[in-house]
Every structure is written in structure tokens, then in C-alpha cells.
């Protein structure tokens, strides 16, 4: 057994019990002579997954044709790089292909976030705050209810959120900017913006409860 094969086998053993397919992927990806072919095969799988994912997320069409093809290739290329760089961190807790596909999903999300700014939707006319019930999936509301809700929400946002929280909340909830697109624009991360939104939601809800608009336990007061 060559030193590379020995290292590969030791690496597989240290990961604990693996399913046969995952074990084979790891072996091929770490043994010289087989590695190039395995990388090409993996890239093919990643590319197919990237295409499928872009099609799934593009209903209705957000990216299509040549643009979709380019994004799929970029996502597959970058996912492959990430996988190769993190191969020693694969602990065999999932199947290897599931772990690998995860990188494609993350790359597709990041690429679509960046892509959003190439052709952002034109803002609709009228008061975006009054469209909140519709945006949140409520049944068509009476105009008076929408106006009252918008005023209460706007007041809560102004009074209880920090400037940064307000900026993020308005971009995501009122202007409808996707979270990944905003993270790209602000040079932030999905996790950081989600945490900010999590705190913002909690603070706004507490304010609306304190002012009698919402019930602390749920349901309407």
C-alpha cells in the first residue's frame, strides 16, 4: 500500500462507519491516479444538481437560458473547490453525496443573492407598508385594517429598533429584498442578518403586545 493509499485508508477509518458509497468516494478522491477521474465525476453530479436547483428556484423564471447555465457552472465549480478544501472535515455523519450537494445549494443561494442586483424588481407604487398583510400571506384585507396595521408596525419599527435593525427590517420586510441579496449588498452574512431580524421581530412583537395590538399568548386581544 502506498503512503497516499495508507493515508486515505487511515482517514476513512478515523471517520467511523461509512456507507459503502461514501467510503468509495473518499477513497477515489484521495488516491492518486483515481483522483482526477473522481473529481470529474463529482463535478458532473454537482453541475446536474446546480442546474436542477436553479430551475426549481426559478419558478417563475428568475434566471434562464445562458445565464442559468453560467450560474450553474459557477456554483458547481465553487462547490467542488469548497468540497476539496474541506474533505478532511467530512465526518461521515451523512452520506458523502448529501454533504457534497449541500455545498451546491449554498453556492446557488449565494450566486442568486448576487444576481438579484443585476436586475432588481421595480418598486411598486403606493405605500409598501400597507401591502404587508398581503406580503405575509394574509387574506385580502380591508383598506382600513391595512392602514391601521401599517401605522402600528411603522411606529414600532421607528421606536424600538436600532438604526441598523431598521435598515435591515425595511429592506427585507417592506421592500422585499431577499436575505441573501441583502447580505451580499451589505457585505454581511445570512446568519448575521437573520439574527438581527430575529431580535427585531421579538422587539416589535413586544411593542405591539404592550400597545394592545397583539395578544401576548397568541390570537387577537
Amino acid at each position: 500500500m502506498s503512503s497516499a493509499e495508507f493515508a486515505a485508508a487511515a482517514s476513512v477509518r478515523s471517520r467511523g462507519p461509512l456507507d459503502e458509497e461514501s467510503r468509495e468516494w473518499l477513497r477515489c478522491l484521495t488516491v492518486p491516479g483515481e483522483r482526477e477521474r473522481a473529481l470529474a465525476r463529482l463535478h458532473q453530479l454537482l453541475l446536474r444538481a446546480a442546474h436542477a436547483e436553479l430551475r426549481r428556484r426559478s419558478r417563475p423564471a428568475v434566471v434562464e437560458g445562458r445565464e442559468q447555465d453560467d450560474l450553474a457552472h459557477q456554483a458547481a465549480d465553487d462547490a467542488l473547490l469548497a468540497i476539496v478544501g474541506k474533505l478532511d472535515r467530512f465526518r461521515g455523519e451523512s452520506r458523502f453525496t448529501t454533504w457534497a450537494y449541500k455545498f451546491v445549494m449554498l453556492e446557488v443561494s449565494a450566486k442568486l443573492g448576487r444576481h438579484y442586483w443585476r436586475n432588481p424588481p421595480v418598486p411598486m407604487s403606493g405605500d409598501a407598508w400597507e401591502r404587508i398583510p398581503d406580503r405575509l400571506g394574509a387574506d385580502p384585507a380591508e383598506h382600513a385594517e391595512s392602514r391601521e396595521l401599517a401605522a402600528a408596525l411603522r411606529q414600532a419599527v421607528t421606536e424600538v429598533l436600532s438604526e441598523r435593525q431598521r435598515q435591515v427590517f425595511i429592506a427585507i420586510v417592506i421592500d422585499g429584498v431577499p436575505l441573501d441579496a441583502l447580505a451580499f449588498e451589505l457585505g454581511s452574512t445570512r446568519n448575521a442578518l437573520y439574527k438581527m431580524m430575529f431580535d427585531a421581530r421579538r422587539k416589535i412583537r413586544a411593542h405591539l403586545v404592550a400597545h394592545g395590538y397583539l395578544d401576548a399568548e397568541g390570537g387577537m386581544p
Partner: protein, 75 residues
């Protein structure tokens, strides 16, 4: 659902929610459990991840896409 009910649902937070970083860290394991044993088993094993996936649109999308990829339901 009225506008107020929809807003209330949106504003509610689950203290078990683990956030994006930790959810993504185990998303592959979560998806394998869902595809092998069902969503309930995954939720039982990772309640904080399940809470997060319910609330976070982008991570929910990643979950849907990964599940479709591994179960072969991706087009």
C-alpha cells in the same frame, strides 16, 4: 387569516431556533434523516434546526433543494 394574524405569526420567534450557521452545519445530516426516517424523526432529533427551517426562508430553500437532490425529485 387576517393581516394581524399573519403579522403575529411572522413576528413570533422560537427560542429553540439555532440560527443559520448551526442549521447549515448539520443540514446534510438532517436531510439524510428526513429522507430515511421522515420529517418527524428529524424534528425529534434536531428540534432547534426544525424551528429554524420553519422561520428562515433562505435556509428553508436550501433544505428543500438538498432534499430534492438526494431523493431524486429534482427536475
Amino acid at each position: 387569516m387576517t393581516g394581524w394574524q399573519a403579522l403575529d405569526e411572522f413576528l413570533r420567534t422560537d427560542p429553540r431556533d439555532v440560527g443559520c450557521e448551526r442549521a447549515i452545519e448539520v443540514l446534510d445530516i438532517y436531510v439524510d434523516v428526513v429522507s430515511a426516517d421522515g420529517a418527524e424523526a428529524a424534528e425529534h432529533r434536531f428540534p432547534g434546526v426544525a424551528a429554524h427551517l420553519r422561520a428562515c426562508g433562505p435556509c428553508g430553500e436550501d433544505f428543500d433543494g438538498l432534499l430534492a437532490a438526494v431523493t431524486g425529485t429534482a427536475s
